[in-house]
Symmetry: C2
Subunit: 394 residues, 2 copies
C-alpha cells in the first residue's frame, strides 16, 4: 500500500495540470496555453549551433560542469542585464531550468511555513504552485492597468509580516498589464524599507510590441532586495529549459547549495548550444521577427474580442506579452462557460487568484495559434458568452 502523501501536497488537479491537458487537444482552438508559435523557432540555426559546438568542443561538454552554469553564457546575460538597468557580474547569475525553477528555489531559500507572501491578483499559477508548498499566508494586491496597486501594497507591508513579494512587471501573466516606472520605483523602495524580498519574474520583457522598454525593478534596488528572473523559453525555445536568476552574491551562493539537492545543475550541452547560437546569430533580429508576428496576432485577438464580446464584458489591451484578460459580468462563471464553448478553450481565471478565487475571468493566449484560429475562436467565445447571458435573463 502506498503510504500517505505529505500534508503539503494538494491532491486536487491544479490549474497547470488542466492547462497542459487542454493544450494537447488538437481538435480545439486553444486560447488556454502559454506556448510560443513553433513556426518561429530558429530550428536550422539551433541545429547548427548544437552541431558546431559539440564538434569543436572536447568531451568535457558532456561532463558535469558548473552549478551556476556555463560562464560565458552568464557573461552574456550580465551584459544583457545592463540594458535593463541592472549592473551585475557572472557570479550574480545562476542559469536555471526555466524561470520556474528560479521561483521554486527562491521559495525554498526564503520561506518558512506560514510566512507572508504578496502576490498580484490575479497572478501566474506556477508561482502560486511553488509557494503553496510552504503553506504561505497570502496577501493579494489588486492588479491595475499600470501594475499592482502600490498604495494597497504599502498598507499591507505596514500592517503585516511579509517575507516575499512576487511580481511580473512586464506584460503580466495573466492580465498582460505592464507596471509603470513610478510603481517600480516605489516597489523597490518599499521592499528595502520593510526588508522584504522581491521576485521580479520577467520572461516577457523582450516581447514588447509598442512603446519603450522600462527599467527593471531591480535597477531601482539599492539594498539587494530584488532578484530578477528571465528566460529563453519565450524568445528562443522552451525546450532549451534555460532561464536565469540575477541576485546578490550571498543569495546566489546559497542557492548553489540548494540547487545540488534539486537537480545538481543545468545541462551543459544546452547551455553551450545557446552560447553558440548567440555567437553566430543576432538574437535582436530574431526577437524583432517574433514581435512583428505576435503583434499581428494580438491585434487580431483584440479586434476579434471587440467585435464579438457583448458590451457587458471588458478585456485588457496589452502592449506586449502572450495574454489578454477578459472580465465577464459577475453573474457568469468562467468555469461553466468552459464546458459550453464549441471550438475554443481558455484558462478560466479562478485558480489564478491566491485566495479570492474570482470566477468571472478568462485568460486568453494569442501566440500559439494562427490568426484564422484567433478569429474563429473569438466568434465562438462571443456566441457562448451571449448565449449564457441570454439563458441567465430568461
Amino acid at each position: 500500500m502506498i503510504p500517505t502523501f505529505s500534508s503539503r501536497i494538494n491532491q486536487e488537479p491544479t490549474s497547470l495540470d488542466a492547462l497542459f491537458a487542454l493544450s494537447g487537444r488538437a481538435d480545439l482552438i486553444s486560447f488556454a496555453g502559454g506556448y510560443p508559435d513553433p513556426a518561429l523557432f530558429p530550428k536550422k540555426e539551433l541545429n547548427n549551433a548544437f552541431e558546431n559546438r559539440i564538434k569543436k568542443s572536447s568531451s568535457e561538454i558532456f561532463q558535469y560542469r558548473s552549478i551556476l552554469g556555463y560562464e560565458p553564457l552568464r557573461k552574456r546575460i550580465a551584459n544583457y542585464a545592463e540594458t535593463t538597468g541592472i549592473t551585475c557580474q557572472p557570479e550574480n547569475i545562476m542559469l536555471t531550468q526555466g524561470a520556474q525553477q528560479g521561483i521554486k528555489l527562491l521559495a525554498g531559500l526564503f520561506l518558512d511555513d506560514f510566512d507572508g507572501v504578496v502576490v498580484e491578483a490575479p497572478t501566474y499559477a506556477g508561482g502560486l504552485e511553488a509557494f503553496n508548498d510552504h503553506k504561505p499566508t497570502y496577501y493579494e494586491i489588486p492588479m491595475e492597468d499600470d501594475g499592482m496597486n502600490i498604495d494597497i501594497l504599502e498598507k499591507t507591508l505596514e500592517e503585516n509580516n511579509v517575507k516575499l513579494i512576487y511580481t511580473i512587471p512586464n506584460f503580466q501573466n495573466p492580465t498582460g498589464y505592464c507596471m509603470s516606472i513610478e510603481k517600480r520605483k516605489r516597489l523597490a523602495k518599499l521592499a528595502s524599507k520593510h526588508n522584504v524580498m522581491v521576485i521580479e519574474d520577467d520572461p516577457y520583457r523582450e516581447l514588447r510590441y509598442t512603446g519603450n522598454a522600462l527599467p527593471s525593478i531591480k535597477s531601482f534596488d539599492l539594498t539587494e532586495n530584488v532578484v530578477t528572473l528571465g528566460s529563453f523559453s519565450k524568445i528562443l525555445s522552451p525546450a532549451l529549459r534555460c532561464g536565469w536568476l540575477i541576485g546578490a552574491k550571498e543569495i546566489v551562493d546559497q542557492l548553489s547549495s540548494l540547487r545540488l539537492s534539486y537537480d545538481c545543475q543545468s545541462s551543459n550541452i544546452l547551455l553551450e548550444g545557446i552560447d553558440e547560437y548567440l555567437d553566430h546569430n543576432d538574437i535582436a533580429t530574431h526577437i524583432s521577427k517574433l514581435r512583428d508576428v505576435y503583434q499581428h496576432k494580438m491585434n487580431a485577438m483584440l479586434t476579434g474580442l471587440s467585435e464579438n464580446l457583448p458590451t457587458e464584458c471588458s478585456f485588457s489591451k496589452p502592449t506586449g506579452g502572450f495574454f489578454i484578460w477578459v472580465n465577464l459580468p459577475e453573474s457568469l462563471d468562467a468555469r461553466e462557460l468552459l464546458n459550453k464553448t464549441r471550438k475554443v478553450t481558455f484558462l478560466e481565471g479562478s485558480s489564478l487568484f491566491a485566495t479570492s478565487k474570482e470566477t468571472n475571468h478568462l485568460r486568453l493566449n494569442f501566440t500559439g495559434i494562427t490568426e484564422k484560429q484567433i478569429k474563429e475562436g473569438c466568434i465562438d467565445l462571443g456566441n457562448t458568452i451571449k448565449h449564457a447571458l441570454l439563458s441567465l435573463a430568461i
Copy 2:
C-alpha cells in the same frame, strides 16, 4: 538588506559543495569526485543523434512537451526495466533531471516535517541534502558488505514510525557494496508490512565488472511500496541530465503536478537526442566498453591501496560502480588527513552519515582519473596515512 533565509536552510557549506569545488582543481589528483571518464563519452554518436533528430523533426521538438517526458523514450525504459525484473508501462515512468531530481520530488511528495527516514550509514550526500529540507528524523542502518543490516532495519521499523527508506542496492555510493538478493527480498517484504515507501536509487546497476546482475528490489514489490530511480548520467553522459523514476501510477500522477512547480519538465531536445542515439547505437556495446575500462581502473586502485595503505586500514572490494570506501583506524581523522596530502584529494566520509558523522572514513573514486593517477594517488595517500599514524605514535 537581504531578509533572513528559511530555517530549513543549512548555511554551512555542504559536502557536495566541497566535492564540486575539489573536483575542479586541475593541480590535484582527484579521488574526490564521482565523475565518469570523459574519454568514454560517445561524442561523435551523440552529436550525430542530436543533428539527425533535430533535422528530421518538426519545429515541435523545440516546444513545451509532456511533463512525464518523451513517450518513446519511456517505452524503451519500460522495456529495459523488464531486464531488472520490473514490469511497468510508460505511464509508470517519469523522466527526471538526473536521478537527483527523483529523490527530491519523492521527498517532497511523501515527507512531512520530522517524519522518519531510514538511510544507510554511510549514504549518498545528495540523498541526505534532499531529505534535510524536511527536517527528518533519521534512522541509520549500518552497511555490511552484502548491503544494509536487515535485522537492524526490521527492529527499527518495528519500534519507530518510518515513512521512507532510502537505499542504493548496487555498488552503493559511497561503499561500493551490493545488496544480496535475500536482503532485497526481505527489504521489499518489510516495506510492505510496515507501509513504508522505499526509494531504490540505482544509477550504477549496469556498471558491474564481475558476477551476475541481481533483480531490483522493486521486482519483489507486490504492493507498490518501491520506487526505482535510474540514470543515463553514469552510462552515457551527465550533461544529458536524464534520469528516470519508476513507480505506481498514483505516485507518478501526483509527481507530475509537483514537477510543474519545480521546473515544468525536462528538455525535449535532450530526450529526443537520447532516443535517437538509442535508435542507432547499441548501448550494451557501449556499456561493455565502460565496464572494461572501469574494471581496470578499479583493480589498479585496489592494488594501489593494498600496496600502500598500512595494515591498520581496511577498504571495500567492490565488484562494480564508482567508489571504494576506506576505513582508517579510529584514532585518525579523515578531515585532518585531507589537509596533509600532497597530490591527492578524496571525500572525507563524516558528511555521508546522517547522524553518527564518523570521522575515520574516506570515499575514493576511480572512474574519473587515469590508472597512472590512481597509482600515484595511492602512494601519496598511503604515505600521508603512515605519516599521520607515526605522528600519533610519538
